[in-house]
Amino acid sequence: MSIELPVFYFLAAITIGAALIVVLGRNIVHCAFSLVLAFFGVAGLYVLLDAEFLAAVQVLIYVGGITILLLFAIMLTSRASGPGVRILNEQLGLSALIAGGLFFLLIYALWKGIPALAIKVPTQANVPTIGRVLMTSYVLPFEVASVLLLAALVGALILARKEKD
């Protein structure tokens, strides 16, 4: 237990620091790069919780897939990748309100749920467990997510398709 606490604070500091740069940074490419660092911090936290499958998938999908597409889009639009782009817009107040609300919701959930969080889950092989649970108890949300992804795929195809005449 002794080593876990400083490691947790270290990872949490990296995640929050990087996330702050993402939101407040002036150069949008630097922001995207910090986002990678923030995702890594989160992946580290997963490892700390013995959820190494989740950590690997987090890096594989969020860092290797989503953020690289984000960077791709930023670089293709040269106006956005230049320095001096306006980072904050007029919805600042609204988003602060929502973020604050979410923060208090999390605090409330944590305060209510502390006994549940304290349980150490046996995780000798969490990959088979996740697979089994996804295909049995949570098969409906799993399928709904699949349909959503399929819809996004079809939508992207329609947008990208060249009109023939």
Partner: protein, 326 residues
């Protein structure tokens, strides 16, 4: 605990050293083999048959002037080579290169670590390699660099998908994500015989992922000068090349582990078998470069999305059906 740390450090040092040495001599091997194929001698001057050439090249690169373009984004420009090289070296941490040996009465496993998500770890780390290229291309503030980086990221994302799907058949048969378990599952028959389609797709994607000919569009000399690394010089340039060659070694080692039974084989010691198989793959890489012309960009993307992806999905389906039926 203390003993564990010592053993671990020694193992890391040995693997790291062997990897860097292999990478350095890969440049020599490549020039020699291509020279042979093109009926030339290749490097001959430095040492016996040019054996000291990699060391001379390394020294030369170290002492070259390090140029940073005036309009470059300095921080990102300096970080990009590191972002390219670190993932290339780190994935070797989970590759098993032998069974067990007894040294001074202790049994030592011949891998640095066996995490139970080994293969996912490698894919996660490998997916970071593209950042080095993209950031290098963007931060150089050069049209050719940016175009090279764009091409590269599109190519690597596309082929990463098929690569990931191509090994799912192997994972289904081995029933594990741990590379050690996957090697052990092949003690009777190698997966190349059970998953020939998966192997072929993996091989094609591996060539594309490492940006090698015939898929070396990110650095196509004729159109892009040199692509993403055109502004880099000195040791930073060398780091990009080190990363490319380290990636070749990694995908070769992974192919050996997943499809050719890893370190298993008769007569010779396990480590020798592992090295032999890896070098066979590396030779294939060089051979391909000397033989095949470069793809056109639309051919490359079309092939990846319209051929490799459906075929790898069909491979998973067929594998699943057969496994369910048996």
């Amino acid at each position: 605990m203390f003993e564990f740390i010592i053993i671990m450090l020694v193992k890391i040092a040995v693997v790291f050293g062997a990897l860097l040495l292999t990478v350095a001599y890969l440049t020599w091997l490549e020039r020699k083999v291509i020279g042979d194929i093109q009926v030339r001698l290749g490097p001959m001057r430095v040492g016996y048959h040019g054996l000291l050439q990699p060391i001379a090249d390394g020294l030369k690169l170290l002492f070259k002037e390090d140029i940073i373009p005036a309009e470059a984004d300095r921080t990102v420009y300096l970080l990009a080579p590191l972002v390219a090289i670190i993932p290339a070296l780190i994935s070797f941490a989970v590759i098993p290169f032998g069974s067990q040996v007894k040294i001074l009465g202790r049994t030592i496993d011949l891998y640095i670590t066996d995490v139970n998500i080994g293969i996912l770890f490698i894919f996660a780390v490998a997916s970071l390699g593209v950042y080095g290229i993209v950031l290098a291309g963007w931060s150089s503030n050069n049209k050719y660099s940016l175009l090279g980086a764009m091409r590269s990221s599109a190519q690597m994302i596309s082929y990463e998908l098929s690569m990931g799907l191509s090994i799912v058949g192997v994972l289904m048969m081995a029933q594990s994500l741990s590379l050690v378990q996957i090697v052990k599952a092949q003690s009777v028959v190698w997966f190349i015989l059970l998953q020939p389609v998966g192997f072929l797709i993996y091989l094609i994607c591996a060539v594309a992922e490492t940006n090698r000919a015939p898929f070396d569009l990110p650095e196509a000399e004729t159109e892009l000068v040199a692509g993403f690394h055109v502004e880099y010089s000195s040791m930073k340039f060398a780091l990009f090349f080190l990363a490319e060659y380290a990636n070749i070694v990694t995908v070769s080692a992974l192919a050996t582990t997943l499809f050719l039974g890893g370190w298993q084989g008769p007569l010779l010691p396990p480590v020798a078998w592992f090295l032999l198989k890896v070098f066979a793959f590396i030779f294939l890489f060089v051979w391909l470069r000397a033989t095949l012309p470069r793809f056109r960009y639309d051919q490359l993307m079309g092939f990846g999305w319209k051929v490799l992806l459906p075929v790898s999905l069909a491979n998973i389906l067929v594998t699943g059906l057969i496994m369910a039926w048996r």
